[in-house]
Amino acid sequence: MTTTATTDTDMAHDDHGHHGPATGFKRWLFTTNHKDIGSMYLWFAFIMFLTGGSMAMVIRAELFQPGLQLIDPDFFNQMTTVHGLIMVFGAVMPAFTGLANWMIPMMIGAPDMALPRLNNWSFWILPFAFSILLMSFFLGGAPNFGWTFYAPLSTTYSNGSTAFFVFAVHIMGISSIMGAINVIVTIMNMRAPGMTYMKMPLFVWTFFITAYLLIAVMPILAGVVTMLLTDTYFGTSFFNAAGGGDPVLFQHIFWFFGHPEVYIMILPAFGIVSTTIPAFSRKKLFGYSSMVYATSSIAFLSFIVWAHHMFTTGMPLVGELFFMYCTMLIAVPTGVKVFNWMATMWRGSISFEVPMMFSIAFVILFTIGGFSGLMLAMAPVDFQYHDTYFVVAHFHYVLVTGSIFSIFAAAYYWLPKWTGYMFNETLAKTHFWCSLISVNLLFFPMHFLGLAGMPRRIPDYALQFADFNMWVSIGGFAFGLSQLIFLAVVIKCIRGGAPAPAKPWDGAEGLEWTVPSPAPYHTFATPPKID
């Protein structure tokens, strides 16, 4: 793909002086600029990451020793619940939406997102959603029924936070749906001439598919929380056996949303490393079209595997076999991806810049998380692992060392483009090594704890788990502190540093590198030419 720089016309366009950024707070409140909104999404996600992270610190502090030391079990449950909700809906999803806002228009040669005002709104309702959720801490207690909010824990036995929780989730859902519609319309209608679907960068492809998953399943989430609300406050019996409902139905509907949701949180990560690995291996991505097909098949399969979260609910054998085999089938397209990344690196002239380090760590550690997922997919084995720390280890490997490491890779990869300065490499490498070592100290022993039978979501544990839990907690504190290094790198990079050229990574490809660094407020007002 060869591209023609169009920056001269962009500069001329800016010189007219119309639509420059407004000044002060109003710039951020009223902005319809995809770059401003992208930045706000990313900052919001980082603040939520630290908020959810501090809750994890509370959890790990309580679990540092056996027995109840710091907090009571009810508050512990509130911590695990809100930690999960914030990390899923407040940190990972907005971070990906932020990256999509910043990069998709620049990658497809569009001047902005297709629906800029909607874009502003989908961001600005998010802080309200999370204020409502966090407010519940001060109004009788936050949700304490787990982020999966199983009925009847969230209905009959709720501590009164169900309404706050439901309204917060509704707002988050509306925000995600609007964001997804925006992405789909942008990608389908605003590609530069010549940018055919099979020429789109893989990050655009993965987010395109993710957006479809979002509009398909976020409405289901909205529906299930609405049923929860009416069950709790208006006397309906969707999930209440006394009125003819069924609590297991809740789990079916929830996981029909929940399983595609986990791919919403990992497909964009696949797109990111499919961008960075070729750049630092100085080779084309191996098997571009197989990557597109693999992503689509993962998205399709995600709709027919939901009950593997429910093997222990007393399903008939046929059901368990069906969901077990379908789940294992997902390993095939995922394996295609992992082998493609390896084949891309094979005989490439690799250099280890920070984004590449995070990407390689992603491939290895995500694969570990994938393998433990394969173990959990086996129904007979799952009866042993269900609701133990093995599950916790599994999903933190795919979400922290998977999704979040890919977000770090993306942030380091595009920071020079965003700020116009190179980041401090020594500090960034320190962030990488501290994160890598501490995250494994944090999550790897959880596998052993789970296999030995330590249940999840419990504030206390049997004495034989004490040593591992202490190590896990130390890893947790270290990982939490390491993220402050990232904050320092980003702030330093915004304030100055070595000026970044338009294309700071010599192997990088794509339209975003044809505009100067920092990217001008308006890019591609005239579409670039793509041959």
Partner: protein, 180 residues
């Protein structure tokens, strides 16, 4: 050019909104779909809500199936509720009667409703109740007690791998619901 793009955008947004709205509806449609699906497969362990005919398919004396009885009382329900025996062994097709004891230990009159559930779920549709207190609501005056009969048989068509099943009754307080 600009106009046609706008039109294209509007059409696309409308299509996507239809997807969103219909998926929201699909979430609710899952509720009756699940009921129908469970009716056919017995997936959720729910037994028939109407009395079955007396068995006339004969008794399969070559097989024995253990039937266990358990009772649950929901929080806030102040009745005693228990089966007279914990377990019986039956041949498929053989009719048995088991009595359940309920006592209202409060001094006011209350209404109760029991909801049955069979595990494993695939056995639920073969568990035939000819007479069951779960088909109706129980009204007990203060301190009143009652022995409630359950007359059942197991359909001889039940799969061979089912050698034991558990029938669980959960007792709910529906006094407030009936009054309102």
């Amino acid at each position: 050019m600009q106009e046609s793009t706008n039109k294209k955008t509007n059409v696309l947004i409308r299509k996507l909104m239809i997807v969103v709205v219909s998926m929201f509806g699909f979430g609710f449609a899952l509720v009756p779909l699940y009921d129908v699906f469970c009716d056919i497969t017995g997936l959720n362990g729910k037994t028939d809500t109407e009395a079955a005919q007396v068995n006339d398919d004969g008794i399969d004396t070559t097989r024995n199936i253990k039937v266990q009885f358990i009772s649950h009382i929901t929080p806030g329900m102040s009745w005693e509720f228990r089966p007279e025996i914990a377990e019986v062994s039956v041949h498929p097709g053989e009719t048995k009667i088991v009595k359940f004891y309920a006592k209202n230990v409060t001094s006011v009159s209350m209404m109760g409703q029991t909801v049955p559930s069979v595990a494993p779920g695939e056995a639920a549709s073969y568990f035939k109740k000819i007479e069951c207190f779960c088909f109706e609501q129980q009204s007990l005056a203060g301190q009143e007690d009652v022995w409630m009969p359950l007359r059942f048989y197991i359909d001889p068509e039940i799969p061979d791998d089912v050698t034991m099943l558990t029938l669980s009754y959960t007792l709910y307080d529906i006094t407030a619901k009936i009054e309102s």
